[in-house]
Symmetry: C2
Subunit: 80 residues, 2 copies
């Protein structure tokens, strides 16, 4: 069955504590090529079929349920 | 600065409790178009520059640090 991938990231202007912790650990490990890490969520939504209506439904779900619009942004909703 | 996106998902053969919980909630909300939801992680890694060596380094980090290879798979490592 077809899958729609929804990607959600913390808003860029907000502090990402998880990301900061990983970034600090990587710097302590000497990974100097890496300047920052931000961590978000990835949803694989298996649907019956991909139609414009289903895509719109998943987009609405991404904004209402899969993300907290106060602190997160829906980066993409893509049928794969 | 350039960004490399790392996507990590739970192994398909394993139970994804978070995903199951969200799937159940969506079905109770009457979202019958959606048969399953699986939830993983998305990392945005900001690097100094994207070279084959840096990509290989992030690939290794994805497998060693960003994911638990026992229960998760690295789905993709992509420079964006």
């Amino acid at each position: 069955m077809p899958t729609i991938v929804v990607e959600v990231m913390p808003k860029a202007v907000l502090l990402d504590p998880q990301g900061k912790a990983v970034t600090g650990a990587l710097h302590r490990l000497g990974k100097s090529n890496i300047s920052e890490v931000r961590i978000g969520k990835r949803f694989e939504v298996t649907v019956v079929e991909v139609t414009p209506e289903v895509l719109a439904e998943v987009q609405a779900l991404a904004e209402d349920i899969f993300s907290n619009q106060v602190i997160e942004d829906v980066v993409s909703v893509t049928a794969v």
